[in-house]
Symmetry: C2
Subunit: 326 residues, 2 copies
């Protein structure tokens, strides 16, 4: 049979006990075929606490004879994540990470090549994924091009009401803060969504289009009236959130356009994928895919696929379908 | 780099010069990286005619040293397709086919095992695909479960206005015919959509749910007033088309529900995928994915993926993403 419903269980080590690590640990613990064996964090405040039935430990566990995958939720920066990825590979573990820059690592070719070499030598797969980058703005639009004779452009919109998200997410988009300070932090990339460039690069590369430039506009959305939601109040003149538009172009032609807007109290949330081509496809997900739950889920769902993947640095664009199970 | 934008071109042989074969030939001819090398049909009326720049020939071409994929558009029946698949494999060709029963061949385990064995021995991949089965009701909903912690049920609706489709499709759903005769042909499975069972089985298997039963309701939709579209007129009391609902169940629980309705002059066409779970996702494609164009496209788009796949019988649920290119 092409599908064996029973595989030996895969051991999973979660590294990073923040909100996403905690959610991923819970998702792993409930997913059939996965066994959570350790949660690791270097923060002394977290070491010794309980998470998904495990006591958080400071160090990676000793190597195991079982297939083992490390789920890394510690950093958005590929450069900062690299030593940990290499250490996990050296211990025989495959790697799945929510590191945004790992979702399309080939924009950082030197680091990507080192990781790819180490992963090939170890015979273990490495994957960066998450809801975005990793799905809404890259793997999903790519999969939607399957029935197209021709693709001229891909446009994705992700518009979110931040009042339904956790506080660290609201902080990351400047909710309730001074717009000038938010604008400065946004321009310096200290806040805002990370991943538009990675998603655009993944889509272009997998479609076989050599884009020449990627430009991202980032602006602060300011409250024009008081917004009160979920026990929080944003005053007139304070920041409601951010809007970012990334465009990958070839000459004058926009090949990939990605709109991310997250504001406190937005009336609707939605995701939309528009494939301009033959045929044209307009795909809408009313309400949108909720970010945190989806990132934790996709990481857990990717574990079996990465555990069985050949050694090397993969992306969502070249692995078999990641799906939910059970 | 993980993605090489230039591979050696893949030679493609189209077998079956009907409407889908002709469309697939055109799609292959325009797709970068593919070279159409032959169109084959046993119909004496077609042999010697021109298609996509090729003269239709009666026999498969002699083996080639280049990577070569045969695209088979000759039959919906796996049993009838088997000898041709085995012959193509014996000639060193990988196989992509629009044969609906090949999309999920494991419901016919004896045939599937023979093809799988032959494909493994030949070191060539075999895939059944198309817009449906192959995408709208299986690969697409599966890919949409990636961000889900839990999936309780998958529901897909594909509702189509048949007046925009070619005449053989209208005939296949009984447009303008006597409802009693259409009902009989539908019950005997001589007409109607083929593939609900395959799609339901693929979704259940890939989600790891052992469903216990699959039941399909099939009914004729009858014109209650005159419908006139695209130069064709359907009278009151004649058949407008068909509605088919397939349900895969486990105990009392409907795990997969697939609705296919194609009627002449339907006011709207749409595809919709509903993932019931955590989170719940409601994904709508207004206008729907046009069937014929999409099937020809997905076949051409699958060729490079199947050419590089390991030997064996594959499905859309276990191959890397099939995407459009160029």
């Amino acid at each position: 049979m092409a599908f064996q419903l029973s595989h030996p269980p895969i051991e999973v080590v979660i590294v990073g006990a923040g909100p996403i690590g905690a959610g991923a640990a819970a998702a792993v613990a409930r997913r059939p075929g996965l066994t959570l064996v350790a949660v690791v964090d270097t923060d002394p405040q977290k070491v010794g606490t309980e998470l998904a039935g495990m006591t958080v430990r400071r160090e990676l566990p000793p190597p195991s004879d079982e297939a083992r995958v490390a789920v890394l939720t510690t950093s958005s920066s590929l450069a900062r994540l690299e030593p940990l990825v290499l250490e996990c590979l050296a211990r025989g573990m495959a790697v799945v990470s929510t590191c945004e820059e790992l979702a399309w690592p080939w924009s950082n070719p030197a680091v990507a090549r080192r990781i790819d070499d180490a992963a090939r030598n170890a015979g273990r797969g490495v994957l960066g994924t998450g809801v975005n980058p990793g799905f809404v703005m890259d793997a999903l639009p790519l999969s939607l091009t399957a029935p197209c004779l021709r693709v001229d452009a891909v446009r994705v919109e992700r518009v979110q009401d931040a009042s339904t998200r956790r506080r660290p997410f609201q902080d990351k988009i400047g909710v309730g803060q001074d717009p000038a300070a938010v604008g400065e932090a946004l321009a310096a990339r200290r806040i805002g969504h990370v991943g538009l460039a990675e998603s655009a690069a993944m889509v272009s590369a997998r479609l076989g289009v050599a884009t020449e430039a990627f430009v991202e506009e980032r602006r602060v959305v300011v409250a024009e009236h008081v917004v009160e939601r979920a026990g929080r109040r944003v005053e007139v003149g304070q920041a409601l959130g951010v809007e970012q538009i990334g465009r990958a172009t070839r000459g004058d032609h926009v090949v990939v356009e990605l709109l991310f807007r997250a504001t406190f109290g937005a009336e609707r949330s939605w995701d939309r994928v528009l494939i301009e081509g033959e045929p044209r496809l307009d795909v809408r997900i009313e309400g949108g895919i909720p970010g945190d739950v989806a990132t934790c889920a996709i990481v857990a769902n990717a574990v079996p696929v990465v555990a069985r993947a050949p050694g090397g640095l993969h992306t969502m664009a070249d692995l078999p379908l990641v799906v939910a199970s059970g």
